[in-house]
């Protein structure tokens, strides 16, 4: 379970997150929507400790992410992350991209790591691309590679930071399909997304962020069918 209490985040004098309270249960799929600059992505970075926070805390399975004694590298193994810019490692083949972390972070043997990697690549539909370098993959394939890479650490949670925003329109579908598949398998997911169809169909709850505040959260039927806050209504009217 991810528990977020009164989370505040500043970039210099810019107040990016203004007191977020949010719990995400095991097995839940939460979509986070909102305009650019509303603090959605920053929330993900705070959850896996890539950004320090100034007030409040994030607790993952009982461990405070930002506490001094926390072994953040260990905790991050629980939190897979997929970025907008897929960030595949260009000097490694698809298989090596995925096998790297199991090998050097989890200490698996080379053969074991490669087996896990091959399995995860097959899982996301890249079973025939094991020895290909990322430069020879399409954006959609690279994003699926990034998903496989995160899954290879066997995380409890997956954080998606606008995983499809940087893709050509015709490549969005394959990545969403993969995310849908994970959701069906019961993965706990927090998806920052601009894909309203995905948010509506796949998530258990949808959170709407506006200027660093979580304005509204609820089941997709409520957020899309009967939004309470004025900002949510405006936002949805614009994206539809």
């Amino acid at each position: 379970m991810i528990e977020i209490h009164d989370l505040h985040k500043y970039f210099g004098s810019l107040h990016v997150l203004k007191g977020i309270d949010l719990n995400v249960e095991k097995g839940e799929v939460l979509s986070v929507i909102g305009a650019s600059g509303s603090g959605k992505s920053t929330l993900l970075y705070c959850i896996n400790g890539l950004e320090p926070v100034q007030q409040g805390n994030v607790v993952v399975d009982g461990t405070d992410v930002h506490a001094k004694g926390t072994d953040i590298n260990k905790l991050r193994q629980q939190l897979g992350m997929v970025f907008q810019q897929w960030n595949s490692f260009p000097h490694l083949t698809a298989l090596e991209n995925v096998a790297l972390a199991p090998k050097i972070v989890k200490g698996k043997s080379k053969a074991e790591a490669r087996e896990i990697a091959a399995q995860q690549l097959k899982h996301v539909g890249l079973g025939d691309k094991l020895d290909v370098y990322p430069s020879a993959l399409s954006g959609g394939q690279q994003q699926r590679l990034a998903i496989a890479r995160a899954l290879a650490m066997e995380p409890e949670y997956m954080l998606f930071d606008e995983a499809t925003s940087a893709l050509d329109p015709e490549l969005v579908g394959e990545v969403l399909e993969t995310m849908r598949m994970l959701a069906e398998e019961g993965m706990t997911m927090i998806c920052v997304t601009h894909e309203m169809g995905f948010a509506r169909d796949v998530s258990d709850r949808v959170a709407f962020f506006h200027q660093g505040v979580m304005e509204e959260i609820g089941p997709p039927e409520q957020i899309f069918g009967n939004p309470q806050s004025e900002h949510t209504q405006k936002f949805l009217a614009n994206v539809r």
């Binding site: 991050r76 970025f83 490692f89 000097h91 790297l100 050097i104 370098y133 990034a146 890479r149």
Partner: protein
């Protein structure tokens, strides 16, 4: 108008000595490059990540190495230190001078290489649970290495050619040895012509080896 008689025989007789001296040239250049790469990497990291006296030291090093004649740098380690009572062997003078120079140039190559790697690569590595050291050694450095590979090759060639300045501080590497034989036999043109060919061959071998290695190392 052109009544110079070529005498190649003395050159050919001392060819084994010249080749031995060429090995010394290669040795000092390779050593200077190895040290230069290690120091250059440190200088680049200092310039990218540190402040205070260390930054000042690294910046001064790079500035001096790149903006003063290589010969003067050699003279500093020879006559400069000599006038403070610190007398180095000709070999050490050349090794230190070359290392100083190479480290300065390589530092700037490395700095450019590091700056070319997006921060998001580090973020992605850290998000997988890699610690900072693992992210640097497994993800950043291999990519930087590819970016600086050809500049390093150039610097290696430059180190071989620049080591010829060693003859001015009494070092009997390829040029020093050539000078020695040339002044003894007065076949100056012949000796230096042959030596030029030896330098040319060495450089061509380095470039060929580098190209071959690159096709093996960089498949992406």
């Amino acid at each position: 108008m052109f009544d110079y008689n070529f005498h190649w025989r003395p050159v050919m007789k001392s060819l084994p000595d010249l080749l031995e001296a060429a090995m010394l040239t290669l040795q000092v250049a390779v050593l200077a490059m190895i040290l230069g790469i290690v120091i250059g990497l440190c200088l680049a990291l200092i310039r990218l990540h540190m402040r205070g006296p260390l930054l000042w030291l690294a910046s001064t090093w790079v500035e001096l190495a790149r903006n003063t004649p290589a010969l003067f740098q050699l003279f500093f380690f020879g006559f400069g230190l000599g006038s403070f009572g610190l007398h180095l062997s000709p070999y050490m003078i050349v090794l230190m001078g070359l290392t100083f120079n190479c480290a300065g140039y390589l530092a700037e190559n490395f700095r450019g290489g590091f700056q070319a790697i997006p921060d998001t690569q580090i973020r992605a590595s850290r998000s997988l649970g890699l610690n900072a050291w693992q992210a640097y050694t497994r993800i950043v450095i291999p990519q930087v290495f590819r970016i600086v590979y050809h500049p390093i090759t150039n610097q290696m060639v430059w180190a071989v050619l620049m080591s010829s300045l060693g003859m001015l501080v009494g070092f009997r590497e390829l040029s020093g040895e050539t000078q020695f034989f040339a002044s003894r036999t007065f076949r100056i043109f012949e000796y230096f012509a042959v030596t030029a060919v030896i330098y040319y061959v060495i450089v061509k071998l380095i470039l060929g080896a580098s190209r071959l290695l690159a096709t093996r190392l960089f498949r992406y």
